[in-house]
């Protein structure tokens, strides 16, 4: 058991170091000259370019830059944003909670919805309900999330024809709202559409995986035994079949954080949600390399930590892993 934990922790640490290396290569080595990219389309004199290079610290040799980068990273310092002229760590801290709030709610809802839909589909597989549910899941999986968001804005926030707009078109709250009930409704109406978009895009995979793994268990002898004992169909499903089929989907929910993060970049952009995704979008157009680098590190680290969490949860969820 201790060996299992040590191996997983070591693996995660190696991955985190690899993230730091990738970020350095991606944002310091690959762009060639970041100053040229920054001043693209604007007339700049050679002296100005040189001064800017010195100011950003990109005129020093790569090895020196790399040592400096690693040293700062150990202090949690991700550099200074070109665009906002403030610390990247601070910017990320300001925007982090909006994203956690949106992504957390969406992940929770889509996990519940995906598991329920998958279990029902598998238990009555081949039925009309199963076909409809599977069809809807496959279609939603093929739909670009940003387009779904745009459509929801048009239909539910702006209104088409006689249908009035019901929800705000963007943002996370209306400034100047007072009173507990008013603030709560305001928050929830702002959350509704972005959350709905994310759920629609991510629940499908959970539903399809849950369905497939429960179908694998369907013909098992232990289910026949459970039925022969006289258990009701409902109990056979809930106590015997589902717990055995749950592991792949639960794993997927944790491993999928990377996918959800990508989805949140688009959804936050479409709904002007004040989180890390919007920050990433704004940084892309400059391009604000230190900010992109910091966000890349944070997004990747989130994926690695969630994978680690999934690995640590396995033995709790499945006794078979404990003995192995």
């Amino acid at each position: 058991m201790a060996r299992y934990l040590a191996a997983k922790l070591a693996g995660a640490s190696v991955s985190l170091v690899a993230v730091a290396l990738t970020a350095f290569f991606l944002f310091r080595v690959l762009p060639g000259d970041p100053v040229r990219a920054l001043t693209r389309g604007r007339p700049t004199s050679a002296a100005q370019l040189a001064q800017l290079r010195h100011q950003l610290g990109v005129d020093r040799p790569l090895a020196a830059q790399f040592a400096d980068y690693l040293l700062r990273l150990t202090h949690g310092d991700l550099g200074t944003s070109y665009q906002y002229k403030t610390s990247v760590t601070g910017l990320i801290g300001e925007h982090l909670w909006a994203t956690v709030y949106l992504v957390g709610t969406a992940t929770l809802l889509s996990a519940v919805l995906g598991l329920r839909s998958g279990i029902r589909s598998a238990w009555r597989h081949g039925s009309v309900g199963d076909r409809v549910r599977t069809g809807v899941a496959v279609v939603l999986w093929s739909v670009p999330s940003f387009w779904l968001g745009l459509l929801l804005i048009v239909v539910l926030a702006v209104g088409v024809g006689p249908v009035p707009g019901l929800f705000p078109t963007g943002g996370a709250s209306t400034p100047g709202t007072h009173g507990a009930v008013a603030v709560l409704t305001d928050r929830l109406t702002h959350l509704a559409l972005p959350c709905l978009t994310l759920v629609a895009v991510i629940y499908a995979q959970y539903a399809l995986t849950m369905r497939a793994s429960l179908l694998d268990e369907m013909g098992s002898d232990y289910l026949t035994t459970a039925r022969a004992k006289g258990l009701r169909d409902d109990q056979v499903r809930r106590r015997h079949a589902v717990p055995n089929a749950l592991l792949p989907t639960v794993t997927l929910i944790f491993v999928n954080v990377g996918f959800v993060v990508s989805g949140s970049v688009l959804v936050e952009t479409v709904f002007s949600w004040p989180g890390l995704g919007s920050l990433f979008y704004e940084a892309l157009s400059v391009p604000d390399l230190p900010l992109l680098e910091g966000l890349f590190v944070v997004f990747s680290a989130a994926v690695i930590l969630m994978n680690l969490l999934a690995d640590l949860l396995y033995p709790v969820l499945d006794p078979r892993v404990r003995t192995a």
Partner: protein
């Protein structure tokens, strides 16, 4: 030759087995419908220059007024510049499909190469290659692709590279698993005993056996690549002058068509993306079911 040691197939055997696979595929009605839809889309994309001229796509001298709802002259309305949405959507298929297919070639190429090398050479090569693969599997793909596209010079080639380089990991895993099962068969040992080198074994024995799986994986990858292309274009990272489904949606958002509720600018490109992606996914699943009967009835 006994049943346990299948001989390499002759040309006639190959043709017969292809016919059998074709018949099995034809029994899958959804798969056939999806294949027809894809053929129609590719046909429209190839034939687009016959109906759509440079004048129809000019942003400066657009043929109509901007953001007009569907009318007799413009059956799908006009976009933010005043171009016919019908012409823009048909033309958009060219870039979207081309980038999607090229990125898939890059992605499946890297994936197959890494997978076969890892499965064939084993040992250290395998450990290192699979570590790298797992690493690419967990990284947030879109974030990586967007970052790549933003630091490299803007253009269509950049988008192809960004998507291809970030999406090969699943293919590599699948191909490695298949290579391992192929390499365990007796005729590989026979080929080695007869003096076959690495090149001979991988290209003449492993590759033909892995190819069907790669084909199914390719159709699934295309769907993801087309989605990725539209996403990158929507984030403003594609070639800004090219007309694709993603840039059409980006333009719609920029000119305020969303807050004005101009649904006709949003529906055609979005439906096109979703329809083509769905069709590729359905085709891939149908192929998978035909090639690997164990999966049939699962999805």
């Amino acid at each position: 030759m006994t049943a346990a040691d299948p001989a390499p197939m002759s040309r006639g055997d190959r043709r017969r087995s292809l016919v059998r696979l074709g018949r099995a595929y034809a029994r899958n009605r959804a798969g056939v419908a999806a294949a027809c839809l894809l053929l129609a889309t590719v046909g429209a994309a190839v034939a687009a220059p016959l109906f759509v001229g440079a004048a129809d796509l000019s942003a400066v001298h657009a043929p109509g007024a901007p953001l007009r709802p569907p009318s007799a002259r413009f059956p799908l309305g006009t976009d933010g510049y005043g171009r016919s949405m019908l012409a823009v959507t048909v033309w958009g298929a060219r870039i979207s499909l081309a980038v999607g297919l090229l990125a898939t070639v890059v992605s499946v190429g890297i994936g197959a190469l890494v997978g076969i090398c890892a499965g064939h050479f084993r040992g250290w090569t395998e450990t290192v290659l699979m570590r790298v693969t797992d690493w690419f599997l967990v990284l947030p793909t879109l974030v990586l692709a967007a970052a790549l596209a933003s630091v490299l010079p803007p253009g269509t080639a950049t988008v192809v590279v960004a998507i291809g380089v970030t999406s090969w990991a699943t293919t590599a895993r699948l191909v490695r698993a298949q290579t391992l099962t192929v390499e365990a068969r007796p005729y590989i040992e026979r080929a080695r005993a007869l003096g076959g080198d690495h090149w001979h074994v991988t290209t003449r024995h492993v590759l033909p056996n892995v190819a069907p799986l790669v084909l199914a994986q390719t159709t699934l990858t295309v769907s993801g690549a087309i989605l990725a292309e539209s996403t990158l274009a929507f984030l403003g990272l594609g070639d800004p002058t090219a007309v694709s489904w993603g840039t059409t949606l980006q333009l719609a958002r920029q000119v305020g068509a969303v807050s004005a509720g101009d649904w006709w600018v949003l529906l055609p490109p979005g439906l096109a993306i979703a329809g083509v992606c769905l069709a590729f996914t359905v085709c891939g699943r149908a192929l998978e079911a035909v090639l690997n009967p164990r999966l049939a009835g699962r999805r």
